[in-house]
Symmetry: C2
Subunit: 244 residues, 2 copies
DNA sequence: GTATCAGAGTTGTCTAGTCCATTTGCATCG
DNA sequence: CGATGCAAATGGACTAGACAACTCTGATAC
């Protein structure tokens, strides 16, 4: 009978050795530098291209490297900090020193799924507006934002949104409604082909998904939004104080 | 001369078709259900095991599936919401209905890197305490937390921390210091083998990294902490109000 | 009955290779 | 001189398969 000493130690995968090697290299190079090609690393490190690519993919996902097909792999710029608070995208961007713009991708009326219905406090199957927008900062795509609002509560919303780019402006001017509270959720996900295309990244790359569930002064839900940010590009920042 | 119509359309990768197929399947099954094995999916969908595994890996990373080596792949439980606010881990856990515990992994005195020094407003190379702890909720590991504090400002800290599990308690009782403000950062990363082992997950799986930079009433930095949570298990929740 | 063990089945890791899409630089042509 | 086209080099997607590590079940031994 063999006694199994240190079973618990999960040995380091080979691809992780490659990753550590690359991390060391990256730390010595300025952003924009070219790193060795996949095929060169394959022979240098005595491993397969698949293994090298796994290490590279993780580093790309963490925002340390950028790959450009046909060209090469480069050291990435540091991530951009994005402050979370209760204002519009435009104000947030301005506070961070960017000029924000918005591109309306889609605005349709559809039936609420069970999940959406519950969040908007309406019946499943009731009409909702689904508004999809691309947020840009200094012209580069930053986030894909999808908003859901009750069609019964905001009749004709789509027409207004097509004319005025700011949804919050429309809510205030036309419907006299203003969000005063919100629950925000933050989680990770992988980019779908659609988001990847819009945000100019790869399908499956890690994303930060910000959900916002906002309420008016009476506590009624106004909208449910989720915004997809590239996880390799952005860090969310929240400022907290002890008294809540 | 061939005119390149719709160059922009990046066709859907094959693995993503597999992923969508699996998502449809998952939506019909309760948590804990067994999904078909990798080899079965390989023949059912007419693809290679590598491609099937890529789809599965993304779904595992998004918390939709759980893989158990030697056993099979199962539909995962929904993610757990974790409220962000300016209290201790223990209080946070209690508010969410968990009984929290902490395991001290390591507590050493070391020299501050440039980054740490800047955050703690001390000189690079000055002594800092590095305290690594495993946070558990109802006995299951939840996060790996690494704190950095100035050794000059909190002499003998390690000894106190070894006796009292709560760092904030020690800061209040022994050093009469209390954090009143904090900047929190949230970003994505991939698990290192060490974190993966401690959190009982796989190397490279997506993580949510919460950074906390806290300050006392005078605006002096007290500590710099980063906590690694499993991105497939947790959603962070922040409550915001309009008046900031 | 109970414990043990072998084997089948599963996921985990890695390899070596093919073919495609895109970029880039160079040679060629006008 | 400029534009064009070609070829090399690069990353992107996928395949088929080997072997390892682990789990579970059923047959067997006691």
């Amino acid at each position: 009978m063999v006694l199994d000493v240190n079973r618990q130690a999960p040995r380091e995968p080979k691809y992780y050795q490659v990753k550590r090697h690359l991390l060391q290299l990256i730390d010595t190079l300025p952003p924009g530098s070219l790193v060795p090609t996949e095929r060169v690393l394959t022979v240098e490190l005595g491993t397969s291209r698949t293994t090298v690519r796994q290490a590279l993919s993780e580093l790309v996902g963490e925002g340390r490297l950028v790959r450009r097909q046909g060209s090469g792999t480069y050291v990435a710029e540091p991530k951009i900090a994005w402050l979370l608070h209760m204002t519009s995208f435009t104000e947030q961007a301005a506070a961070a020193g960017y000029s924000a713009s918005t591109q309306l991708l889609d605005a349709v009326r559809e039936r609420a799924s069970d999940d959406i219905a519950a969040r908007l406090a309406i019946k499943p199957g009731a009409a909702v507006y689904c508004i999809e927008r691309l947020r840009l900062a200094d012209g580069t795509p930053m986030a894909v934002e999808t908003s859901y609002l009750s069609a019964a509560r905001f009749p004709g919303l789509i027409g207004h949104v097509r004319k005025t780019s700011s949804l919050y402006q429309v809510l205030a001017d036309v419907y006299d409604t203003k969000p005063v509270n919100a629950d925000e959720t933050i989680e990770t996900a992988a980019a779908s082909p659609r988001e990847a295309e819009l945000l100019n990244t790869d399908t499956g790359s890690p994303m930060l998904v910000l959900g916002r569930h906002s309420f008016d002064a009476e506590g009624e839900p106004i909208e449910w939004v989720h915004s997809w940010y590239r996880g390799d590009r952005y860090v969310f920042v929240a400022k907290l104080a002890a008294g809540h």
